[in-house]
Subunit: 235 residues, 2 copies
């Protein structure tokens, strides 16, 4: 078996806790912009539009746009559903870039530093490049390189996205460990010969909504968090 | 005038001292593979093929290949000129990846850490992604992101390369400072509205071959090295 040379990471939910960050920033938005929104509900609806919209793009029913723009469209729709149409373009942009300011799970940064000692580490997130760059600087994520489907104007789980990562890293699929809290992502990578690490993130959807974390397939690793993964990889 | 948000760096000659590294590793190659080559001469000839070959690619006379492959072809030709045809594929690959192991100029890493405090920093080098990733890990270059013309299968000074960088960073050209020791690179960026910093690297071609460092145009900054540039940018 080839040595693992690089780890690719799903980001939203796997590295960062988008729900908590949106709720926390949402309290500030309420104060700053005189709103009275339930940001836990907004966060769930905002993220809830993610898979259906990406599916439309991948099915060719909707033009490709970068994730910032898809987030922006969804935010506007949700705020309109709440009857809020008075916010300025600048304010909407500021709220929308909460996705650039997401906070990492507590184990993520120390885990990445350990994993980086022996392996190349990169996000392979559906976030666009500037989102991932700003997030990394904001949250202190020590990526070696940033790989995004924006580079080929597609989205995961399109197989071309994973192939792009292997090509740019000049590595064979079996030398790359795809790391994610979402099984569809791992399975798309596994189908192409990548190795896989399933990281449990029971709190991604909030403490009252713990998902079924039973592996649907056999993955190379299953880890409680990035520190556990670093232990298992002997980093 | 817009604030500078990001700095892009030429790499070969600007961030790293390829000539000294090739000479130093060359002494080891001579010992390890029983060679008797003048690696200062080899370094100059190897690098000397760079611009003519890239010109052919940009003129459509030669198929695009990533820089690792162009370096490999040039290395083989130079060694054949020296009558050396006995080296294994593995040895040739090892010698060729000296470009992944180049050492930074002494000011580069401390300067990048200072510049990074206030600005996004990225290479915009003709090196392919894996070359730049391996170099960054080997030399401790703290890039926020790695941008390479490989992402659009082109090479600098093709204007599309600079435009790609602005698009991925989601910045206007005037928010980006192109930093290079080579004026053709600065001028290509300046023609597109990027800001420019000319860094003097008098020793790029060796102490006996100091180039004419007189600016051919007015650049936004001219700096003795990256620490001087950090001073000028108040980082």
């Amino acid at each position: 078996m080839a040595d693992i040379k690089a780890l690719l990471f799903d980001v939203f939910g796997t590295v960062v806790d988008y729900r908590s960050t949106i709720i926390r920033e949402g309290h500030q938005f309420n104060k700053e912009f005189a709103l009275d929104l339930d940001w836990a509900d907004i966060a769930d609806r905002w993220r809830g539009r993610y898979h259906p919209v990406l599916k439309k793009v991948l099915d060719g029913e909707k033009e490709w746009k970068k994730l910032d723009n898809l987030h922006y469209e969804a935010l506007k729709e949700i705020l309109e559903e709440e009857g809020i149409t008075r916010l300025s373009e600048e304010t909407l942009q500021y709220i929308n870039t909460v996705w650039h300011r997401l906070h990492p799970w507590g184990d993520a940064v120390p885990g990445l530093y350990r994993l980086k000692q022996k392996h190349i580490i990169s996000p392979l997130s559906n976030g666009n490049v500037s989102l991932l760059v700003n997030m990394a600087r904001h949250a202190g994520l020590p990526w070696d390189v940033i790989l995004s489907p924006e580079m080929i104007q597609s989205y995961k789980p399109d197989p071309d996205v994973y192939k792009m990562a292997a090509r740019f890293l000049d590595l064979k699929p079996e030398e790359i460990l795809m790391t994610a809290a979402h099984q569809y992502d791992l399975q798309a990578a596994q189908d192409l010969g990548f190795r896989t690490a399933y990281v449990y993130r029971p709190l991604e959807f909030g403490a009252g909504n713990v998902p079924n974390l039973v592996p649907e397939r056999e993955y190379d690793y299953a880890a409680n968090d990035f520190i556990d993964l670093a232990d298992q990889l002997r980093c």
